[in-house]
Amino acid sequence: MTLPLTNRRSILRVGGAGMLGLTMPKLMQAAERATSLKPRAKSVIFLFQWGGPSQLDTFDMKPNAPASVRSPYRAISSSADGIQVCELLPETAKRMHHVTLIRTMTHTMKNHASAGYYALSGHEPPSDDQRLRDSLDLYPAYGSVVDHLAPNVNGMPTSVAYPHVIRDGSIVPAQHASFLGKRHDPLLFLEDPNDPHFKLPELSLPQGLSIDRLHRRREMQRLVDRQARLLEYSDEARGFDEYYERAISMLTSDRVRKAFDLSAEKESVRDRYGRTSYGQSCLMARRLVESGVKFVTVYFSDSIGGRRVNDGGWDTHGFDDTRMYEIVNNYQLPITDQTLPTLLDDLEERGLLDETLVVWMGEFGRTPEINKNFSRDHWPQCYTTLLAGGGVKRGYVYGKSDERAKFPAEKPVKPEDLAATIFQLLGIDPSSEIYDRDNRPLIIGGNTLHDVIA
C-alpha cells in the first residue's frame, strides 16, 4: 500500500508553458529530470583552488607586458603548440596537450565568499559581499544538482566532497544541497587522506561491533518494525528503512569501502601524487571516479591562506610583510605541479581521462598590476580555468585576454557558462529547472561553450 505524499514544493506549470500538448506530468519530468543529452563525461573531478590563483603566474603568462605586470617567472613552451605556461609548472607543461584552457573567465565579485559561491554554484550572488551568508535561499553545489537531476544508481554516492569545508570568516555557500534537501548533500568528509590512519568513520564499524552483531541488531530492529506496521503505511518510515539497507551494504560491501581505502594503492603511486592532503585527495578522487562516483570536489585548502608557506590557499596579497613570490613558488605551485600532472597521467593510463572531466579553477584571478607588497590582489574580471578530459578538446585555448590579462579581449565566459558546459558534458541539459523554496523555477546553467567540446 503506497500513500501519496504531498509535494509542497511542486507547483506545476502548464498554463503558460505547453502549447503543444505537454501535459503537466510531462512538463514536470522535463523540468525536474535531466533530459538525456548524450554524456561525454561519466564523472567530474572539480579541483577548487580556494583563495584565487594568479592567471599571470600560471596559465596566462604575459612575458611581453611591462615589468609592473608580468610575472617574475619565465613563460615556457608546453607540449601543446602555442601554449606557454609558467616555468614553475614544468611537469604540467608536458601535459598541456591534454587540456583546454579558458583564459577569459570573468565576473565582478571581488570578495572570496561571493566569488567562491559563484564558482561553486554557477549562480551570481545577490550582492558582492563578504557577509554573504550560507542559507537555504542560495543555490546548491554542482554535485547536489547532479544528484537531484541524474542520481547514481550504481550503489556509489553521486557526489563526494572533501577534505575541507571552505570558509572566509563565514562558511562559503554552495557546498551542500541547500533548497534541494539534505538528502542531496554531497558525502562530505573532513578526515585528511594524507593521515596515515585515514579512514572514514561512516564506513568503519565501531570498535567491538562485528558484522554478525550488526546483522543481529538489524534483525531485531526489523522485528520491532514489523510490530508497529509503520513500514506498511508510511512512505517516510519506509524511506528511512531503505537508508539502513544502503548504509549496511556500504559498510559491508567491498566496493564502497575499497573506493575509500587509500592503503590499497602502491606506495610509489602515493608518492607520485605527493604526500600532501591535496595530493592524496586527488588520488582519492581517481579511486572514487574509478568506482563510479559522478562528482568529486576536492578543496585545495580550508582557508584562503596566502601568508604562510606550509598551508592555506592562493590568496597572496603580501599582507603582514609577506611576499607572494616567496610563497606560491614554495607551496601552491610545487604542489600543483606534482599533483595535477600525476592525476592526468594516472587517468590517461587507466583509460579514464576520456570519460572524466577534470576542472581546475579558483574563485577569481589576481590583479595584473603587482602591488606595493610585490604581490597581487583579487581580480575577477579575467582569469583562467583549466579543463581536461571528459570530452573537451585537447591542447586548446578558448578565449583571449588582453595584453595584461586584465580583461577578456574576446569570448568572455561567465561562471554560469562554465556550469552549463560541465552539466552538458555530464549529459544534463543545462536548461533544466530546479525549484527553490519559493517554488521559483531556476535554470541550472548559462550558455554551453560548444567550442571547447571535442
Binding site: L3, N7, L12, L20, T23, R213, L230, Y233, P441
Partner: protein, 748 residues
Amino acid sequence: MFRIASIVVLTLLSLAPSRGRAEESKYGETKVRQLEFTTDVMPVLSKAGCNLGTCHGNLNGKGDLKLSLRGQNPTDDYHAMALAARGRRINLNAPEWSLFLQKATGSVPHRGGIRFDVESPHYALLTRWLREGASGPSSTAARLVRLKVEPSEAIVVEPQNKLPIRVEAFFSDGTSRDVTDTACYELSNLNASVDQDGVVSRSKFGETTLIVRYLQIQRPVPIAFTESRPDFQWSNAEPHNEIDRHVFAKLKRMRINPSDVCDDHVFVRRAYLDAIGRAPTVDEAKRFVHDPEPDKRSRLIDELLTRPAFADFWAMKWADVLRTEEKVLDTKGVEVFHGWIRDNIAAGRPLDEFVRDLVTGTGSTYERPPANYYRANRDPSTRGETTARLFLGTRLQCAKCHNHPFDRWTQEDYYQWSSLFSQIEYELGENKRQDSLDKNEFAGDQKVLIAKMDEVRNPTSNRVAAPKFLGGSELEKNAMDDRLSSLATWLTSPENDLFVQSQANFIWYQLMGLGVVDPIDDFRLTNPPSNPPLLDWLAKELTDSGFDVRSLVGTIMKSRTYQLSSEPNDTNVNDAISYSRALVRRLPAEVILDMQSDFLDSPSSFIGYSPGIRAVQIPGVLSKKARGKSLEPGDRFLKTFGKPERILACDCERSNETTLKQVFVLLGDGLNERLASPSNRLAELASSSASDGEIVDELYWAALSRPPSDTELSAAVDLLGSPDVDRATAVQDIAWALLNAKEFLFRK
C-alpha cells in the same frame, strides 16, 4: 467548501462539446473591432509561455528579448516586442516574416522551442494584429475587471475522471467573452493534469488546486477526485469538539471515513512528544495506560500543559523562527532573548502582546530582550519580509523585484511595507569579533534605536515609498515618527485576519504536522486553505481565548481529529491533506537526542553547556566556544538530524528529512558509544538481578511506551539467554534495535 458536487460536473461535461474548438465564435466577435494589445495580444503571449520566469520573463530576459514577468507590464512588453531592437522583431508589411512569429513557430531556431504552429488560432490572431498595424496598449481600451471560473470548486467522483473548466472574462466596457482557450492553467500538485483547454484529468485520487490565470487576475479552484465507493457508509465518528465538526463535514462530503482513535499506548506517547517534546517515562506511561477513567486523556493534556517542559519545547519553536543564534545576537543576546521567549510562554503571555513587544522592541539588546528581533533583522527589507512571514503568513520576497506572480502584492506594496521599518538604527559597542574577517558576526551589546531619517525607495520608480500596512491603509501623517507602535497596533489587532489566521495555523501545524494553509508562511490567493471553515474557527478560538497559546493547544489535542490513529482505512488511504488520520513524521533532532538520553539515563554533551542540559533547552544554535574545536557528539547529532541554523526566519529551515548520514550516525560510533558506556541504564540493568523478561519489559516501556509483544519478548529473551552472547552485549543490541525502531524515531 465543496458546494458544487458531481452533478454540476456532469452538466458541464455535456456542455463541453458545444464549446469545442469554435474558433469563429471565439475571435468572431472581435472582428468588428481592432485588436487591442493588452487584452488580445498579451493573453496569447502568456498562454504561449513567452513571459514565464524561465523564458523571456526572466529578470534578464532571454536571447536579448525581455518581457515583464507573466505579463505584468503591457507597455514595456509592447516596447520590447514592437519597438526595441529597431523594430526588427515585427514586420508589418509581411506579418508572417515577423521574427517573433518565426521564432515562436520554429521556422528559425528558438531556444525556447516551438510555442505554437501556423495553423493555430494564436498565430492567426497575432498576424491579424500585425496586419492591423500592431497598435500598442491604449489607455481607452477596456480593462479586465472580473474573471468568472466555473465551477469554482468541485468534487469529481469516479468513474468521472475529468473536469472541464470554463472561464469568462468581464471587461470595463460591459462586454464579456469566453477565454477558456486563452487562460493559463497550473496545478498545485501531481494528483491531476490539465490541458490547454482547461480540462483537468485525474492522475490519482486526492485533492489539487487549479490556478486559473488570465491577464492580471488569478482564481484558485479546489478540486477533489474521489473514488465512487457506492457502498460508502459514513462512520458517524463522534466529534469531541468543533474542530471535528469542521474536519468531518469535509470528510463526509468526500466519502472518506476518519481512521479510528489511536490506542492509549500511541496516545500517551504522542501527547508527551507534541506537548513537551519528550516521551513518557516508564511510570508515566504505565500509569496512564492503566488508568481506567474515561476522561484520562483530557486530564493528561491539561497536566502536560502546566509543566515547565511545555515552555522549554514551545520556546524552541519560536526561537527557531526568531533567529535566536549566536553569530548575530552573541551568546548573551541568545540567552536573554531565549529566556524571554521561554518566560513569556511559561507565564501564558497572550500571543498578540508577545508579538507587539517584538515588533516594537528597541533599546539595549542585553537589557531589553525583544530588541533582539531587530538585532537579527538588520535592514528594512529583511525586517519587512520577516514580519510578513512570521506574523502574516506571507512570503513577500517575490515582490522585491517584481509584482508577486502568484499573489496580490505589488512591488510598491513591498517597499511601502519595508518603509515602516526604515527608521531603525544600531548603536554598536566595541563589536570585538572573534573572527575579524567574519562580517556577519556581532559581538557584545548593541542598542536598537529609532533614529534614522532614511526613507525606502522603490528601485523601479526611484520614488520614496510611503509607509503602508500590508494590504491595509497608508500610515497616517502624525504617526510617521513612531511607525513601529502604529504597526504593532495594526498588526496584532484581532481584526487582522491574516495575523490571527497565521498564528492559529502555526500552532495547528506544530501539532498536526500540516498547516490548514501549507506551507504555513505561504498564505496567498492561489494557495487556499484545505478547510476554510476550520481555519476560521481556529482563528476565532484563538482570539476568543485572548490569544492564549496553551488554550488552543489544549483544544486541538482534545479533538478527535488530533487523536486519530495514523493507520489508514480503505477510504482514507489517498487522503493527504484533510486530516482523516494522523500524519507520521520524523521527530525533531533535539527530541530524538533527548529521548536517547532519557532512555539510557545518561546525558549527551554540548559545547559551552554544563552536562545535564536537554537539547530542547539549548537557547541558540551552537556555542561560540565551539570555534576552532571539534564538535561534541550532541552538537554533531543535532546538526546531522536537521536542527536549523536559524538564519531564515522560516520554520522550513528545520529539516525533518531522513538522510543516509543520519543512519551512519545511528549505526556507527555516534550511538554505539552511548550504548556501550559502563555508566548507563543498560549497564545497570545488565548487572541487576532482574529477570530476562523484566529487563525486556523495562526496555520496551522506556523506549516505546508499550510492552513487548510475545514474538518480541521471546526473541529478546532468547538473545539474553544465549550462551554465545554476554548479557551486557545482548542488552545493548536489544536497546539498539529499540532506538532504531521507526516507532521510536517517528511520531506515530
